[in-house]
Point group: C2
Chain length 455, copies 2
């Protein structure tokens, strides 16, 4: 058995050739044998001309599978759809798993969505309409309605019949949900249990009545956290009256976790998004410039602050030498405290009462790290510059700066969280600037006050 990835690579040539020669049979034979993710990778690699042939060679259903597995930027969906015949595109969307279909439609204009839904067959259109109105990043926006539900007063045998019938269309068949006559969730049973137990056992005897679920309005991060903690393969989504609306499966959650982690990371680095898609320098520059320009003006503000101490600087030029050191240390310790706070908030294990505790803890941490770094700096500067006053000035500045910067690093994301702003937004740039300002005020303030000892 050759390695699967190698095989897929080898088949790329065959596929390209088949498309160029418009050899339908050869293309379909090789292509449809591949995993949908590999199909999607091939599809986004080829150019528009060849894609036009693919649209002719595949059915809407086959294209739907590709679209379910595609990993592209949101605006690229529109491009691909525009290339297709509108009827073909509408049929394809109708054939997709409804959660994926909604993801695609969410990227289009309202008008376009209405058009596609009009052409689509009614049942699919209705399923999609139901999901379309959920707000982004909520459980409702990532759930699918293609689950399997049974009733408590059935036997395993009759439940398995339903399962066999619905398996081809369900997103997962590994959990089966038990609902009452009002479609309220009353239990869950795993396929594992259905298989192990006797055919005549009643579902009510076997089902687990302690079902974890999420509300349809819940944040997707909460959902991800629950699935991760409890190692679920899927989680049911309920409305406020406990009606079963849909399910969220682990594969969608894996994407959420990856996205959210990338997002936190990107924000700490002050990039709008760090993705794997290869871009040209202009497109990359366009994405990074907004941050850089903001940071530039924040930096100018800091510069103007130093400018106010020009007189002090004129008298004791050596002070300038330590500006990057002090500002840098403030930035570093602030970022550390910030990262801890942001992660804790993201991870969600955060109770109201413990916020104050976090601030106190960070104040303590800042005081300890500040004292130690301050002592080290005092000694090093004294040895280097042979000036104990300069050493003390820099050392005490470091102590004060580190303490304040650490508290600020923890405090700001907590405030953001309170204000319902994603705390990760604040990260890198904001905290660094605040800490630059704090450190410069402390350093030059003290230097100006104790000028006579430095001259």
């Amino acid at each position: 058995m050759a390695d699967e990835s190698e095989k897929v690579e080898l088949e790329e040539g065959t596929l390209l050739l088949a498309l160029e020669h418009e050899n339908l049979e050869e293309f379909r034979k090789t292509f449809l044998d591949q995993h949908p993710y590999d199909q999607a990778k091939f599809f986004i690699k080829i150019d528009a001309e060849l894609r036009m042939i693919v649209y002719q060679f595949l059915s809407p259903n086959e294209m739907a599978t590709i679209f379910e597995n595609i990993e592209i930027d949101n605006d690229e969906y529109e491009m691909y759809l525009a290339e297709m015949d509108p009827t073909f595109a509408a049929q394809m969307i109708g054939k997709m798993y409804v959660d994926d279909a909604v993801d695609v439609l969410n990227e289009l204009d309202k008008e376009q969505v209405t058009n596609y839904l009009k052409i689509m067959d009614d049942e699919a259109a209705e399923d999609i309409r139901e999901l379309l109105h959920y707000e982004e990043y909520t459980a409702g926006s990532i759930m699918t309605t293609e689950y399997i539900s049974i009733h408590a007063h059935q036997t395993i045998h009759s439940a398995m019949q339903i399962l066999k019938k619905e398996a081809p269309n369900a997103e997962t068949i590994y959990y089966v949900y038990v609902v009452d006559e009002d479609n309220k969730l009353v239990g869950v049973i795993s396929l594992r249990d259905l298989i192990i137990h006797d055919d005549e056992t009643m579902i009510s005897e076997l089902m687990n009545e302690r079902v974890y679920s999420v509300n349809v309005m819940e944040d997707q991060e909460e959902v991800a956290r629950k699935i991760m903690d409890y190692d679920f393969l899927a989680l049911p989504v309920l409305d406020n009256e406990k009606h079963l609306l849909g399910i969220i499966t682990v594969d969608d959650i894996v994407d959420v976790i990856d996205e959210e982690a990338s997002e936190d990371y990107s924000k700490l680095a002050a990039v709008s998004d760090v993705d794997s898609i290869d871009r040209g320098p202009f497109s990359a520059a366009r994405k990074r410039l907004p941050w850089l320009i903001i940071l530039l003006f924040l930096g100018m503000f800091t510069a103007s602050l130093i400018g106010r101490f020009e007189e002090t600087l004129n008298k004791v030029a050596i002070l300038a030498v330590f500006i990057p050191l002090i500002a840098g240390m403030a930035g570093n310790t602030g970022t550390q405290a910030l990262a801890v706070a942001v992660r804790r908030i993201t991870l969600g294990d955060f109770e109201e009462e413990s916020k104050l505790k976090l601030i106190f803890k960070e104040a303590g941490t800042g005081l300890i790290t500040g004292s130690i770094c301050g002592i080290v700096v005092t000694i090093v500067v004294f040895i280097w510059q042979k000036d104990i006053f300069l050493g003390l000035l820099v050392g005490i500045s470091i102590l004060a700066t580190l303490t304040v910067a650490t508290i600020a690093g923890a405090f700001i994301p907590l405030i953001m969280h309170k204000l319902k702003v994603d705390p990760a937004v604040a990260s890198g740039p904001f905290i660094t600037t605040i800490n630059d300002i704090i450190s410069i005020l402390i350093y030059f303030g003290m230097a100006t006050m104790f000028m006579q000892y430095l001259l």
Copy 2:
């Protein structure tokens, strides 16, 4: 139906009371009805005295379930095990899923491991020994040997018999692996397919021969990437001769993704690890100080570099005002480029040839962002200080700095990757210092050269 999380919270009181009154029956009734993750959460919350009662109230098998679901720091495993009777502890480890058992044993001394394996029943000990020697962070270290395998010349009916028998012990029953007489992997079949199709169908007719797999030595990040991309619930692990050794399930991968993302994030923020466990300020300070001390000395080096330009500074004190701006901008743009490179390397979609392309792209991006920021700065400084030469000096410094810093940000992680060092290690501190140095050399170098225009 009350919300499950609320119910668990209410039961906490019942459980505590039952333990305090040593009411075995009440405790077991409530506790064993909970989800293992909730059991684990309760267990790590209570104090040592009550834990001693739990060890008496539960069987090794029941404790094993808790330990499989526990989320604690690695050194805490040792503490809990030390509390238990050694025979009880050994039996418990023997009852755990073998991958989880190995995770626990990896945290202990060699001697302790040998002792536990000696007391344990032989079959369990052997399974564990087999997995213990795989290197950390490889596929082998996170796989489990509790999979289900069948042969191609069986019918669905006979395969289902095997499945029913092995289901209680297997980590997943949703994929069944098909092996030949040498235990080489030849195919895979999903439980979904087994259920949908006729009982008399031969496995060979139905199985998918294009099985994605990973080598036992492969990095766990690669495994995570594959499972995420292809939406697998499990992935088989093979040796170099394609023998089936074990499987890795999606729930373990979710943890890997979360860990790796946290790791990258932590390193960008220069903290050793950002976890959700609450620590005191001393413990937090101890974790952050090593980074801060390193950064402090790197900062002193930068300061000494500026010290060499003291004469220039003495003549034109205003130069000092722009040090944080220029160094800060270099740090920002470097971190952006670094984050993009690190994420791309972590995500694994990186071919040898494209490295040069990335560098060129980043050089282009740096030139574009540098030019725009440079022009903005020149104008602002000119308006503010009414000195076109100073404006040009700062502007050109920004242009040069941003270009070089962007290239450095992309180049350094690539070199790290080449040297087989985790590129995320380099991030924050390293890149910022290099860029501080570069920016100061450029800025003061130019200032000293064109001194006559500034006076």
